[in-house]
């Protein structure tokens, strides 16, 4: 993970270190932006209600300057406390990520996308970053004149690539056929920039959102980056460019991010923002290959063993690059690749 953090430093990002606790009030006011409603709370010594951070972004925004003329760039490596789907209780989840606040322009977006690909690339060569531009979708939905409930339903179905039900909903809600066609086409269209962008330009001539995708993705020029409009996660949080990262071997997306100007407006900020988070806990299976053995060598000594000779023998094995456990008897739970006996002044033999 350290090489990832180093990458952020290379790009001039500074680390943002925070406390595990935050005033509960912050989350009450911004409940909409939290992934889960469940928060661990406690009363501190002065009687104030505190929470174990369920989220990092809100705390960083709260403490950042509201400067719309430049961009402040920070990264973090923090634990958050959430109830994850399907689990019966709270989990401590390690998140690594970065945030940019201020005058977020296309260069800034490009840099964040590039760092997202570098983050994924540091984990595995076999990665994919799905990028969407929510502006394209929400502009069409705004013109469709549907209720918020239907709008959310449409977005949910787009997120599932569920074309059959999307078609049914659009027909049922009497969405103008031309708009419906575009929404269906966007759901069906995904893949690399070379194929998808021309298709989008034909579908939505002169569309600024499509032009922005062209500009960013061709400048980024990474074949592992794809366009996919099923990236609609958390529309009340994100707007504009949004993305999800996948690595082969992990069942769910391990990285997600995007622009969240709406949230900044809600927090009465003038500046814009973009960021992403990597869910480190999800990478466990990938990063820790299960080894068959706990140690390479278990070196068992008897009572009359010469101490300095014993240490020398163990160190010689370690110098060989092996892990060496020195004991009088092998603990039950330990599996050693090789068990050796040390007698007297240095007779080593396999047990």
């Amino acid at each position: 993970m350290n090489n990832i953090l180093k990458k952020y430093q290379e790009y001039g990002y500074t680390q943002y270190k925070m406390s595990k606790f935050e005033e509960y009030d912050l989350y009450v006011k911004n409940k909409d932006f939290l992934i889960s409603d469940n928060i661990i709370t406690f009363t501190d010594l002065s009687g104030k209600l505190m929470a174990l951070k369920p989220d990092v972004t809100l705390s960083i925004i709260k403490n950042s300057d509201d400067d719309a003329n430049s961009v402040s760039k920070v990264y973090y490596d923090e634990n958050v406390y959430r109830v994850t789907k399907g689990s019966q209780g709270f989990k401590e989840i390690r998140q690594i990520g970065l945030e940019c606040f201020g005058k977020v322009d296309d260069y800034c977006l490009l840099e964040v996308l590039a760092l997202a690909t570098k983050t994924l690339g540091a984990i595995s060569d076999d990665y994919k970053l799905d990028v969407s531009n929510l502006t394209i979708i929400s502009d069409i939905l705004d013109e469709c004149d549907v209720s918020t409930k239907v709008r959310n339903e449409i977005l949910r179905l787009m997120g599932q690539k569920n074309i059959h039900e999307l078609e049914a909903v659009l027909t049922k809600e009497n969405v103008e056929p031309k708009k419906a066609e575009i929404l269906l086409e966007l759901t069906k269209t995904y893949g690399d920039k070379e194929t998808v962008i021309p298709k989008l330009e034909a579908l939505l001539p002169g569309n600024e959102g499509v032009a922005q995708l062209r500009k960013l993705l061709f400048a980024l020029d990474d074949n592992n980056v794809q366009i996919d409009f099923s990236v609609v996660n958390d529309v009340h949080y994100y707007n504009g460019i949004t993305f999800n990262g996948f690595v082969n071997g992990v069942a769910d997306s391990v990285l997600s991010g995007g622009q969240y100007d709406n949230m900044m407006t809600r927090l009465k900020r003038k500046s814009k923002a973009v960021g992403f988070a990597l869910y480190v806990s999800m990478l466990e299976d990938l990063l820790f290959e299960s080894s068959e053995y706990d140690v390479d060598v278990a070196l068992l000594y008897d009572e009359d063993a010469d101490l300095s000779a014993l240490c020398d023998a163990a160190n010689a094995l370690r110098a060989d690059g092996q892990t060496v456990l020195v004991e009088t008897a092998l603990p039950k739970a330990i599996r050693a690749k090789r068990v050796m006996k040390f007698k007297g002044k240095g007779i080593i033999e396999d047990a």
């Binding site: 076999d126 799905d130 893949g191 992990v250 069942a251 997306s253």
Partner: protein
């Protein structure tokens, strides 16, 4: 190689027949034994039978790349997956049923017995009706007879079981059929293979 989770039982057999007809056969599946995993390297598929309600879990967690699950299961567990195709088989509906001649007294909380708590809650929430959910694991039909509940929310295929227990459908909740689902990561890395299956199944 694509890992395909199929629901054990009658529906699963129909689904397998569809896959076979679409060009993904695995003849060893017809052998009479207790094996649960069947592989055809040539066609690039590995099938396995799992409990119907578990298909979504296998797919969501990536143990299966794709699978076939009833819409009822997808609505109840809301797995984070792609729903790629309505296979148009295993058709039935989720409905509210009550004893024949039942009158809904809106002055009091409606007691609803069901296996599908999430679906029942979402349905009555959308109507703004206050309900008390009684989660049961089977024989839902007897709940209203024994006055355990006022109504039930359950899958209705032919309606025979309801009729035999003197119950009738009073509201339709949602139509149900079997859906082809895919794990999100698998879809990214095995796009072509999955797209081919979808195309051939259509």
């Amino acid at each position: 190689m694509l890992n395909v989770a199929l629901p054990k039982g009658r529906l699963g057999e129909k689904v397998y027949a569809m896959f076979e007809a679409a060009g993904y056969p695995c003849p060893s599946i017809y052998e009479e034994n207790r094996k649960l995993i069947f592989e055809n390297e040539e066609a690039g598929v590995r099938y396995f039978w799992v409990k119907p309600s578990d298909v979504a879990i296998y797919v969501e967690r990536g143990a299966a790349d794709i699978g076939v699950a009833g819409k009822d299961i997808l609505l109840e567990y809301e797995p984070d997956i792609y729903e790629l195709l309505d296979l148009d088989i295993g058709k039935c509906k989720m409905a509210v049923a009550a004893p024949v001649g039942f009158r809904d007294n809106t002055q009091k909380t409606l007691r609803v017995a069901t296996k599908f708590s999430n679906i029942a809650k979402a349905y009555y929430d959308s109507k703004g009706r206050d309900i008390d959910i009684i989660h049961l694991n089977g024989s839902i039909e007897i709940a209203p007879i024994l006055k355990l509940s006022d109504v039930i929310v359950d899958i209705v295929e032919t309606g025979t079981t309801l009729k035999e227990n003197n119950l009738e459908v009073i509201e339709d909740v949602v139509p149900i059929s079997a859906r082809l689902i895919a794990n999100k990561t698998s879809f990214k890395f095995k796009t072509e293979e999955i797209e081919n299956i979808v195309r051939n199944l259509k």
